[in-house]
């Protein structure tokens, strides 16, 4: 039966190619950008692909782009051992027999991608690197997004060159990195110097830098220095859970000390913003695993005992009749989370008095799509969202591990649920976790290739801002197409001399040389792309003039005037502008119109 189904899959190209337009659209390519051939069709035979009587059971393939990547097909497929035309370029083969399973062919200016079996119902079940193969065949996506955020942990990158990293990030469409700041909580000359260099390099490349704070974890040294303030689990062990070493944020002496430390941390470096990440309790296993369940520090125990008459530790010592009390504790814990979140949002907002350009982000696990989070972590988005009216911050929704295996379509659904909860839709953002998933997912354990592009593409369509966790986990083959997946273009229309683009956000459109936009000379271009604001714009060939090569802000309007470049922009933090005279201009946060001049050599 399995053999029959696999053969059927491989033999119905019309049915199984249904995912093809979606695959192409995930990086902004038109449905006719390349032609897909599957297995033994008449067209593939005409082009020289031939089947042989020998069959191969495919369970794992090797893609030449990333040979060490484990790519599995589940269910396995039985295919013919095909022969290929001599001018075909093989991209992937079956692991054991080396039978070709993906190849490209260029004939008469037409590009063909041949697959031994269909790409799967969603387009990513078998060949993660279909789109990279098209890139190798000379197809380039027409537009790039410029607004991605990425998390960054220096422990993996300490010996990387900051300049190289920053330019790689910008090329990948990344507008800001959120740096794991706990490594820099205590001053240390060499490490500090490295971070300073990184921030300088990022700013030179128009990449913003946020201090990512992961309270109740403060720093390794803080944990060592203050055993008296360590958080406790329900088994009353020190709450060292995974890499995080949690502190007691109920204790006001502890809070004061952390506040002073964070104040120093923010003053010491040239940050553009602060990201207060995952400020709630542990763990995703909830009270079913007391070894990971927090908080059980003395302050919490005392307070709950005062309120409920029971030391919460007792809830784990006897089983009978605890359900009601446990409910009460879980509710108390959620209230406590909110109280701590409010307190820290207030503290961090206070830092803006001295550094008004600082942006503020709150990263918060989703509890609307996965409703268990309130009980598991104490996280309650519904209670936090009204704080958007009191504090100016971005609410970055993190999709929890429990739904990482669900497909890309979860993002529009998550967006819908949050939009119902707040009027501040412009301040909602989504965080995509690009990590190895614990669930049995195929073809790869971590999102890469088409699956990643579809995730980013749908997330971009659903949210104002998309963050990726984390920059080092993005596999090298994905970097080139990542900005194309983040493209916010909604519509294209092309006539012989005009390209009309409709976009929901700022976008880079592939365009050689200078251009006119809506009939006026346009200053935002770098020779390969032009930068367009959101809206509908008509682009035509133009003449060279003063240039802005890159800008890290939302462009509202731009034109070339006698006084220089007139630029209207909006930015939650400082706007960084890279001019063609190699100068970097730092503009104030907010909504402004400025004139910029370019020095002529």
């Amino acid at each position: 039966m399995r053999l029959l189904i696999s053969l059927l899959c491989a033999c119905f190209p019309l049915f199984s190619a249904a995912a093809w337009p979606g695959i192409l659209a995930s990086v902004g390519l038109a449905p006719d950008a390349a032609e897909l051939l599957i297995g033994d069709s008449e067209q593939s035979r005409n082009l020289g692909f031939g089947s042989t009587p020998a069959t191969v059971t495919v369970r794992r393939i090797i893609d030449s782009r990333q040979p060490e990547l484990e790519i599995y097909w589940s269910p396995e497929a039985v295919i013919s051992h095909f022969t290929l035309p001599l001018d075909a370029r093989v991209f992937a083969r079956e692991r054991w027999t080396e039978a070709p399973v993906m190849a490209g062919l260029k004939r008469d200016d037409r590009i063909y991608l041949w697959l031994a079996a269909d790409p799967g119902p969603h387009g990513f079940e078998r060949y993660p690197y279909l789109l990279q193969a098209l890139l190798d065949m000379g197809i380039t996506p027409p537009a790039h997004g410029v607004r991605l955020w990425a998390f960054f942990d220096s422990s993996y990158r300490l010996r990387a060159d900051p300049d190289i990293l920053a330019s790689q990030w910008r090329r990948a469409g990344i507008a800001a990195i959120h740096v794991a700041s706990w490594h820099f909580y205590e001053p240390q000359r060499e490490r500090d110097r490295w971070l300073e260099k990184l921030i300088e390099a990022c700013h030179r490349n128009a990449v913003l830098v946020y201090a990512w704070i992961e309270l109740p974890h403060v720093s390794e040294q803080f944990w060592q220095d203050h055993p008296e303030w360590r958080e406790k689990t329900a088994l009353l062990g020190d709450a060292h859970l995974d890499w995080r070493k949690l502190m007691n944020l109920q204790n006001q002496d502890c809070v004061k000390e952390i506040q002073n430390g964070i104040d120093r941390l923010i003053q010491r470096f040239d940050w553009d913003g602060i990201n207060l990440g995952e400020l709630y309790f542990e763990s995703l296993e909830g009270h079913s695993n007391p070894a990971r369940f927090t908080p059980f520090n003395e302050d919490v125990r005392r307070e709950f005992q005062k309120r409920a008459g029971v030391d919460p530790v007792e809830l784990f010592r006897s089983h009978a009749g605890n359900a009601k009390m446990m409910r009460q504790f879980l509710d108390y814990r959620a209230e406590l989370t909110l109280k701590i979140q409010k307190e820290w949002l207030g503290i961090l907002s206070g830092l803006r008095k001295q550094l008004p350009h600082l942006d503020l982000v709150l990263t918060h696990v989703d509890d609307q799509f996965d409703s268990q989070m309130r009980d598991l972590l104490g996280a309650d988005a519904k209670s936090v969202l009204p704080l958007l009216d009191q504090h100016d911050f971005i609410f970055l929704v993190e999709d929890p591990a429990t739904v990482w295996h669900l497909g890309p379509s979860r993002y529009p659904e998550i967006a819908k649920r949050y939009e119902k909860l707040t009027d501040r839709k412009d301040r909602l953002a989504i965080d995509i976790n690009i990590v190895e998933r614990y669930q049995d997912v195929y073809p790869t354990r971590q999102q890469t290739g088409t699956e990643l592009f579809q995730l980013v593409h749908l997330a971009t369509q659903s949210f104002q801002r998309v963050a990726l966790y984390f920059e080092n986990s993005i596999l090298a083959p994905d970097l080139a197409l990542l900005p194309a997946a983040a493209s916010p273009v909604k519509k294209w229309a092309r006539t012989p001399d005009t390209l009309t683009v409709e976009s929901s956000q700022d976008v880079l459109v592939r365009w050689k040389g200078p251009a006119k936009v809506n009939g006026k000379a346009w200053p935002l271009y770098d020779g390969e792309f032009i930068r367009l604001p959101a809206g509908v714009h008509a682009v035509q060939a133009g003449e060279a003039g003063p240039q802005i090569l890159d800008i890290n802000a939302e462009v509202i309007h731009a034109e070339i005037t006698a006084q220089g470049i007139l630029l209207e922009y909006k930015s939650r933090t400082r706007a960084i502008v890279r001019m063609s005279d190699k100068k970097i201009r730092v503009l104030p946060a907010g909504h402004h119109t400025v004139y910029l001049t370019v020095a002529t050599s």
């Binding site: 484990e70 269910p75 396995e76 300490l158 010996r159 296993e285 909830g286 070894a291 009978a320 080092n472």
Partner: protein, 564 residues
Amino acid sequence: MAKQSFFLLILATASSASSLLDEAYLAMRDGQHADAVRLFSQGLEITPTHQAARKDYAYLLMRLGNSRQAREQFRIITENDPEDAHALLEYAFLCHETGERRQARLIFDQIRYTSNDIHQQTADRAFLNIDQALETAIHRWQEALTKQPQADSIHEELARLLEERNEPLQAEKHYEEAFRLRPSKERFLLDIGRVRRWIGNHRESLVAYVAATHSNDIRTAEQAQEAIAGHEIGEDIQIAARSYRPTPVITPRPERSSETTALLMADRSFDRSFLPDALRYYESAYESDPQNSYIQLRLGLTHNLLGKDDAAYQWLSKARQSSDPLVAAEANRAWNNLRPAHTPYRLTVWALPMYSSRWQSGFAYGQAKMELNKQWFFRPYLSLRAATDGGSSRAPGPLSERAWTPAIGITSRPWHRIVFWAEGGGNIGNTQGPDARSGVIHTHGWGSQLNAESPGLYYLMENGLNYASRFSHNVLFSSQNRAGYTFGRWQLGGFFAVATDSLREYWGNYVEAGPSLRMRLPRLPANAFLNVEFVHGINYISRGNPRPAHYFDLRIGLWYAFTY
């Protein structure tokens, strides 16, 4: 002629490599990093032993942030020249940075004993950082295991840490235990195969790998296939591999139906303790296949872990009827654990036969108690007590009631480890007449009690305030305290008791102290133990005491209790 051609070929190859490497350096200087990487890679393919160029290539990869590729270059450098301590150190740091912590620890360890001072100090610091963190983590999880010995996730966590700390034998033990507890997680077979291969136990390693090739999970099966590629697999290994029986009731099917997919998702969620998810998936799988006893079992276990014991009990009752002996056995075990809380009545029986050297006599006490098993704070019960002794020339009369005492009573649920009880009945036997008793009992223990998984200090306190009508309505307070050290089945320590009563009787006012030994006897149930105490006591009220106030007493008793 052939010699000349060969020489020319070598020359041409060397010159081509040199030109590629020259170009690589130029590209690197000009900031054309992608070109430089490509050219270095091509050049080094032709001259793989060009150590200097390979180092420059590795450092370029590091600057680009490609730590994994840089690590691989340093691996080759150290293979070409194992004496290059600096390269070894770089390799170790890159291993650590890229998650190969076991390898990093091993190399740091090697350098700190074989290299010069500077490298030695760096390696020593790095090694200690890794090792101490591992040691602490292992200790923490070992402690957690004493509290949750049946948690496969803790065994898994420990196994991984032990593997990183170069303790494969211990790691193997914990992987095996994790697999025994969670046979559906066939990926453990790969771990078992890997550590066995590392230990040098190649045959058993192959057995585990071959078993994994039969996994329903394609990733596991293929990884196992990779591991045994090139090895000869004899029939004996095939047969032995069959003994690693995978998940009991998930029979392989040609295609995954929706309930199988739900079941797999449920198992994965259960494995990771994402219990609400697991519950949802099991319920979905059950809707499609309500006769599947494995799903019933898992529904029972999941409800149980979620603290929903009533539902768990119902599911387990169904699952224990399974025709699959493994499912039935596991369901039965879990069902029996829940049964006491779900039966209408609960029977508790205890018995204590003992010998006392002070009285040179044997005694026997016991009670059978049938309790109404409701969630009330006070629950009624019927009781039958027995007390007798062998008589003593040292006492003027019998040392106990020598009677049966049927009674009716109530007992409370434990409240802050305190139980209240009261009963009324009558004595039948040597002593006759009505008998009313009541009391308050408080028990608290700290540390490694008898039957604890790990050795350690212990302290056990038992306090009682009891009233007995038969002793002129006397109220007796007693406190018995035991402290010492537990070694597996043995508990060695000291005993201290103090008592006083409302009527100031000499027998009700004493202080006793002395060494104490408790042990579980082989072949007897876990809830039976031998108790030996040798005490020096003082009756501190002498009124009516026919014997000296100071006494020594050796008591040997066997305690046994069970609840059904």
